[in-house]
């Protein structure tokens, strides 16, 4: 909300208060000051100058050399290329050190041997338009009226002499989106009176009801509609002060009637509309819901197709305005307008919001209505409008108003105690101060000798509903610096901490960090194309992803059902940036809906995805990392060849815990790498079910003594078919080894000259251990003979 100090001063004396002081006080009361705009700072060191002489520049055909008199009666030499000036003209002159609104700095400049001691300015250079000063749009130098004083600061000539506060207003204070609302606050923080002058105007003995007939058909969407009638209107320009004030809050002057409605929107915060009565069929105003598919061309020339949820202002035949948002193209004020109706109404806030959104139709009125307009403003606004009509002599005012107020106005009364307010604050504010503060905000408050407090909120404070609201009013004016820190003195002792799940997930992340992984965080919404990039089959469950209704873009439109896309993206980003060696992981939830469209909240499942790439990385380094993690948490995992479409079919595995699939990993399929823009590089990824790993994790490991007896190690090299997996060999060995086998480890695979075609040699080390005796050679031999026999029998394995 733009708050010009001069306008504020109409309602509370602030002329003698420094702007910085006022700003600081408003900030302390809950109003952020986003900017202090000093109009004079926009056009510095620019003065009016009278042109005394114009001579041709001796060295340049297109330039003239002018002698002028300006600031302090001093004479200056100015070189100019402008052709629209003549001797005797008064013009704006930017002197050495001047700064134009566009930031350009002016200094002495030499033009072909002659020094120009400044520059004449045109309207554009001064950032002014025709409505600021007649002639501002002329191409060339701005020429002031004959009687303009010479040597005057142009800010005084043009009226740029105000200071404007840009005030941030929170949504609970719609009343403060107006000059008078902020004036009430300024009065309270300065402890000065707020004065609303009595609004007077002359009327003629005409009854408004004889000229206009108002009917509200939906008093829920329109709880109050007020109107006034003005005849014999003289459409004209507004006086300078109105133009200036509107300009200072960023509103363009149109004509006196339209300006009055905008002036009141700013000053009182009540949107108004002026209808030309001649356009209202049968002089009727009917406030009703639109018919389905009813059309209105709005003021901006746009065609709007309406529906039954939208409120319109109609005459006997057709809608003439979308209520509270915008008038129709042919109902507005124009040069021939004779008789007008002022509308000052309250419409339901969310109805305005929904209609505006549905029609994509916006206006200052609509923006103001969406914030909320109180019941006090309608009459005040009409009276103010009529007083301005009277003051500007712009028309003849009929007696009285139309007022359709649906329900009698009722002020909210809060009954509580001074103690309750102090209990919320935690300090003791004396009763007298509580009531003084509340009364200074026009909240009529009494506190009896037992501390019972009764507070009646004014109509413009619909936000005051309970003791907490009152306590905020008290403390923001009493001062937040009066709050003293205490540390939950009366509260119960509690023990805090993280859940087992959270703690275990942190261990999981730390394990990966120990393996050299950097944690990444990616957006939870991904592109809808992700599933194609990953080559997922059409029926794949991961394609059933939740879509946003209003995504920022297609790339961020679908809630991820897998982390694989995200980590692959991160890998591609890094590889393309030249980060050749990467180990990245992300721990986050995926969003799995039961049914689409979503009827209830989806399942959010925690996953962990890993991606590695680089010189030393391969399938087995990734598998080693996964096995390390599983070792930590005691996850019992089995590996089977994976059918994931995004993985290399020969170099990928699914991980099973019993019958449950808890992850997949392997080398990324070359097609998929291409889809992600990764060239000439192998990338390995894994996506693991963190929920399973964490929930099944061994939290406490039972004590197990280190064996007292020595273990015996035997190495075994066995020649088997090339197609036989190592896991098969291990399974056979376990089957035939008996209970003395403690550990088994595959340490080499060899294919080559000494091995028959189609075969490979697998080297394993076996560790035998007994917990009650030292094993002898015979026992070990019995074990290994049994194993060798088993290998021969089951998989045709031969000792090498």
């Amino acid at each position: 909300m733009k708050l010009p100090i001069s306008w504020l001063n109409d309602f509370v004396t602030v002329k003698d208060v420094s702007v910085d002081d006022l700003s600081a006080k408003l900030v302390n009361a809950g109003f952020e000051i986003e900017e202090i705009i000093r109009q004079r700072d926009m056009r510095k060191n620019i003065f009016t100058a009278k042109v005394l002489s114009i001579k041709k520049h001796p060295e340049a055909d297109k330039l003239d050399v002018c002698g002028v008199v300006s600031k302090d009666g001093k004479h200056f030499v100015i070189v100019t290329g402008a052709k629209n000036i003549k001797e005797g003209d008064t013009v704006p002159l930017a002197l050495d050190g001047a700064e134009l609104p566009n930031g350009k700095k002016i200094g002495d400049t030499v033009f072909r041997g002659i020094t120009s001691q400044g520059m004449f300015c045109g309207g554009e250079e001064l950032a002014i338009t025709e409505s600021d000063y007649k002639g501002a749009s002329v191409n060339g130098v701005l020429i002031f009226d004959k009687d303009t004083p010479v040597g005057a600061d142009i800010n005084d000539v043009l009226g740029f002499d105000d200071i404007i506060l840009d005030v941030g207003v929170t949504p609970n204070r719609p009343d403060c989106n107006s000059i008078i609302g902020l004036a009430r606050e300024a009065a309270a923080v300065l402890k000065r009176p707020f004065t609303l002058k009595e609004l007077k105007y002359k009327t003629i003995p005409l009854k408004i009801k004889d000229y206009i007939n108002v009917e509200v058909k939906d008093d829920v969407l329109c709880p109050r509609y007020m109107a006034a009638y003005v005849k014999d209107v003289k459409i004209a320009e507004s006086p300078i002060y109105i133009k200036k004030r509107l300009r200072s809050v960023g509103i363009k002057s149109i004509n006196n009637i339209v300006d009055i409605t905008n002036y009141i929107l700013t000053e009182i915060g009540q949107p108004m509309h002026a209808f030309d009565l001649s356009f209202l069929a049968q002089s009727k105003i009917i406030v009703r819901r639109a018919a389905e598919n009813e059309e209105i061309i709005s003021l901006d020339g746009k065609s709007n197709i309406l529906n039954g949820n939208m409120l319109v202002i109609a005459d006997a035949e057709k809608p003439v305005a979308v209520a509270g948002i915008m008038g129709g193209l042919k109902s507005g004020i124009n040069a021939d307008t004779k008789n007008i109706v002022f509308e000052s109404a309250r419409f339901k806030r969310d109805s305005i919001r929904k209609t505006s959104k549905a029609l994509n139709l916006k206006s200052d009125s609509q923006a103001r209505y969406e914030k909320g307009v109180d019941f006090l403003s309608q009459e005040l606004a009409l009276k103010r409008a009529l007083s301005l009509i009277d003051e500007l002599n712009a028309g003849v005012i009929a007696e009285g108003f139309v007022d359709t107020l649906a329900h009698p106005l009722k002020k909210t009364v809060v009954k509580t105690t001074a103690k309750k307010i102090n209990d919320i604050l935690g300090i003791t504010v004396p009763d007298k101060i509580i009531s003084n503060i509340l009364n200074s905000l026009e909240i009529a408050t009494t506190i009896d000798k037992n501390g019972n407090l009764t507070a009646e909120a004014p109509l413009f404070r619909e936000d005051i509903l309970n003791a907490n609201d009152l306590s905020e009013e008290v403390i923001r004016l009493y001062g937040y610096d009066k709050i003293v820190p205490t540390l939950l003195n009366d509260a119960h002792q509690t023990r805090g901490g993280k859940s087992t799940f959270q703690k275990t997930n942190e261990r999981l992340k730390n394990a990966l960090i120990g393996c050299g992984f950097n944690e990444i965080i990616s957006f939870s919404f991904i592109t809808g194309k992700a599933f194609d990039l990953l080559k997922l089959e059409q029926g794949d469950i991961r394609r059933r992803a939740i879509k946003l209704l209003n995504p920022l873009s297609e790339d961020l439109s679908v809630m991820r059902t897998t982390l694989t896309h995200s980590v692959l993206n991160a890998a591609a980003y890094n590889i393309n940036k030249g980060n050749a060696e990467i180990r990245l992981f992300e721990s986050a939830v995926v969003y799995l809906p039961d049914i689409l469209p979503l009827k209830k909240l989806p399942n959010e499942k925690t996953r962990c995805a890993l991606v590695i790439a680089g010189e030393k990385e391969d399938f087995y380094t990734l598998k080693g990392i996964i096995e390390n993690v599983f070792d930590i948490f005691g996850t019992a995992a089995a590996y089977v060849r994976s059918k994931e479409a995004y993985l290399h079919p020969g170099r990928s595995a699914d991980i099973y815990a019993g019958a449950i699939k808890i992850g997949s990993f392997g080398e990324v399929h070359p097609d998929v790498l291409k889809n992600y823009g990764i060239k000439d590089k192998k990338v390995f990824i894994a996506e693991l079910d963190s929920d399973y790993i964490i929930n099944s994790a061994v939290v406490i490991r039972k004590f197990r003594a280190a064996p007292k007896f020595p273990s015996v190690e035997r190495d075994l090299a066995v020649i088997i078919d090339d197609t036989t997996d190592a896991s098969t060999v291990v399974d056979v060995i376990k089957k035939y080894s008996g209970e003395l086998l403690e550990k088994i480890n595959v340490f080499d695979v060899f294919k080559g000259s000494q091995i028959p075609e189609g075969k490979k040699s697998l080297a394993l080390s076996l560790v035998f251990q007994s917990y009650d005796r030292t094993l002898n050679d015979a026992e070990i031999k019995a074990c290994t003979d049994n194993i060798i026999g088993g290998l021969k029998k089951e998989i045709n394995g031969e000792l090498r």
Partner: protein
């Protein structure tokens, strides 16, 4: 014989002294004391010595051998020390060559800040909770005193999944979930992802918040200041000061913005704090009794305080990150900085 023995002894002395290495020394040992050494030869010739002189000669030989053994042992000690020294000296390496390391990974800076803040509040008796990111409009807005037509909804651009389901715009939804589930006393924080449709150098459509809630008897604005002051001192430094500025949130009344003295200049004014000496770090307030009642908590018996802070903002000031978008680019060169 005595002359001969003395000669051998003298020869041995000079040969031992001349030995430059353990090998030379060993050669000398073999030459004089070995099986075929010079003393063995002397002893073999003992039969030619008159019988009454033999004991004396034997004694002289033994004495001479002992002397030589002693000399050899001394020399051996010196030589082996010398040789070890030479060996060690030859093994000198360039200690400025880089080590063979396996690189340690890193948590994301957002996780680091969340962990640090969580630890502070755990110390103050807070439980850490988790909640869903896809949330009902009811919990994210309506029960937090923000009905559908409320203008405060303009403060947050919401991602919708349906009319009634949204991406949570604030971790405040966990206030409702916690109070519906748990009876007072309640002390929780809830870190997590939140979403708003805004994307530029200072806004990310996904970011992180930590929500805090205390429900108990006689909770006051003074408690809020004390609690957050304690938190700020732990997070920044012991001399950090905290102040309230009035603000507005639909679910707290009174509502405040909380500023702390700038972590860089400690209140003197610097570019980080835009020369104000203060940094805004969070929003907070006394929970509106309507919200307590919405969750079935008697607002006459209990009161509550709540606060919520943006993690990115704290991370960005703490680490001096220039652009919000860098945080989620996942560039390894950025990430590994936080080992």
């Amino acid at each position: 014989m005595k002359v001969l023995i003395d000669k051998i002894l003298n020869d041995a002395r000079s040969e031992i002294a001349a030995s430059g290495s353990l090998k030379d020394l060993n050669d000398a040992r073999v030459k004089f004391l070995g099986k075929n050494g010079e003393f063995t030869a002397v002893m073999k010739n003992l039969k030619d010595v008159p019988a009454d002189e033999r004991p004396l000669v034997g004694k002289l030989v033994n004495e001479a051998k002992e002397k030589i053994e002693k000399l050899i042992a001394e020399s051996e000690k010196l030589l082996s020390e010398k040789e070890l020294k030479e060996k060690i000296s030859a093994e000198t390496i360039d200690i400025t060559l880089p080590g063979k390391k396996s690189e340690y990974g890193s948590l994301h800076p957002i996780s680091l800040v969340i962990n640090e803040i969580s630890d502070i509040f755990i110390g103050l008796g807070f439980d850490v909770t988790d909640g869903p990111e896809i949330e009902t409009d009811l919990y994210n807005f309506e029960m937090l005193n923000t009905p559908k037509d409320h203008p405060a909804r303009d403060m947050q651009d919401t991602f919708y999944i349906s009319e009634d389901i949204v991406l949570r715009t604030q971790t405040s939804s966990m206030q409702i979930r916690t109070m519906l589930k748990q009876k007072p006393p309640i002390r929780i924080i809830n870190p997590g992802k939140v979403y708003r449709s805004d994307f530029d150098s200072s806004h990310s459509p996904m970011f992180h918040q930590i929500e805090g809630l205390v429900v108990d008897k006689h909770i006051t604005l003074c408690d809020l200041l004390g609690l957050l002051g304690e938190f700020a001192k732990k997070l920044f430094s012991a001399e950090t000061k905290t102040r309230f500025r009035p603000s507005y949130f639909p679910f707290t009344e009174p509502s405040v913005e909380v500023d702390v003295t700038c972590s860089e200049c400690h209140g003197k004014g610097c570019p980080l704090c835009k020369h104000t000496g203060w940094m805004e770090i969070l929003g907070a307030g006394i929970v509106n009794p309507k919200v307590l009642e919405n969750c079935g908590i008697d607002s006459n018996e209990y009161s509550a305080l709540a606060f919520g802070m943006g993690i990115e903002r704290i991370a960005i000031t703490r680490y001096g990150i220039s652009d919000m978008r860098i945080v989620f680019e996942n560039d390894k060169r950025f990430l590994r900085n936080y080992r």
